[in-house]
């Protein structure tokens, strides 16, 4: 494999994709070099396949439309990557709130002491 082929390789690749001639200083070499011509042919095929990729579509997630339309309705459209952290965060905050409320709950003085017996109350 000649050094010129290696030098020409990027230009051959670009000329194949853009369907233009190779830059002038390398043109004489590539015109007579089987290796460069094979590379040109391979890259032309690749270019066609790249273009064909534009028509290949991956199916979007099933809930995508709902997420978009919910966001437009002003609902909380949570990005999927945030869902787990948000769920965990919500659970932690709820538990902390429950503990605080329990700890500082207003106490009924009648219930703090001894529970009076039925006779005492009468």
């Amino acid at each position: 494999m000649s050094l010129v082929c290696e030098l020409a390789a990027p230009f051959v690749a670009n000329s194949a994709v853009d369907e233009i001639d190779v830059v002038r200083p390398l043109r004489t070499h590539t015109a007579g070099c089987l290796k460069c011509q094979a590379r040109h042919a391979a890259m032309s095929k690749t270019a066609r396949e790249l273009t064909a990729l534009a028509d290949e579509h991956t199916k979007a997630p099933a809930d995508l439309e709902w997420r978009v339309m919910s966001a437009l309705e002003g609902d909380l459209a949570v990005p999927r990557s945030w869902r787990t952290p948000m769920a965990v965060g919500t659970a932690v905050v709820s538990m902390a709130a429950a503990v605080i409320i329990w700890r500082f709950r207003p106490r009924n003085p009648r219930l703090t002491g001894r529970i009076p017996s039925f006779r005492e109350e009468r």
């Binding site: 390789a9 590379r39 790249l50 290949e56 579509h57 991956t58 978009v68 339309m69 437009l72 990557s81």
Partner: protein
């Protein structure tokens, strides 16, 4: 000459009508546009960012941005081209925000389908194999180079458009593309 029975033209007319209604604030019309374009927007997002969850978020945000910008859409370009531009911009912004997300093999980006026009099993097999190698080679490219190749060689953007979206000069976009293609060709050669 226009042919009122041409299905593509009928689709275009239908889309224009939906756009006009959506521009007036009709959400049902916009939902129909979302349904029509979500797969292509999502595919582009996945090709650009790799990670499927991030791509899903990019698609969602891009479509929301599209809704907000829809009154400014004048119809000079196709709606899909306009949506592509918004998606690329959104992906670019999201990428900056979420650098922690690693790329996902491009193998997963598209369902393996027989290439169009490849009716003969041998030809279809060869093209499928080439497409598989192509996806792997694209995956090997550094992110910036991959994005340039996707925008230029898959979606046919101009150098100027790429430069504008990536916030680089046209010359830099050309150089990046030149390098990306050279690397792509080299990787494909090594794989074969």
């Amino acid at each position: 000459m226009s042919n009122p029975n041409d299905p593509r033209q009928v689709e275009n007319e239908k889309e224009k009508e939906l756009i006009a209604r959506a521009q007036q604030g009709d959400r049902a019309a916009f939902a129909a546009l979302v349904r029509a374009h979500q797969n292509e927007v999502y595919t582009l997002a996945r090709r650009l960012v790799g990670d499927p969850h991030l791509a899903s978020d990019v698609t969602q945000e891009a479509l929301i941005r599209a809704w907000r910008a829809l009154p400014k859409f004048r119809g000079d370009a196709q709606l899909s081209t306009w949506l592509h531009r918004i998606t690329v911009n959104t992906a670019w912004t999201q990428k900056k925000r979420a650098k922690k997300h690693a790329g996902v093999p491009i193998d997963e980006l598209t369902a393996i389908a027989a290439p169009e026009g490849a009716n003969h099993p041998a030809v279809a097999g060869e093209l499928l194999e080439l497409r598989g190698r192509l996806r792997a080679a694209l995956d090997r490219l550094p992110e910036g180079q991959r994005q340039v190749v996707v925008m230029k060689d898959v979606y046919g953007w101009s150098h100027a458009e790429i430069a504008e979206v990536m916030d680089i000069s046209v010359a830099a976009a050309k150089v990046r593309l030149h390098r990306a293609r050279a690397k792509l060709a080299k990787d494909l050669e090594e794989m074969s």
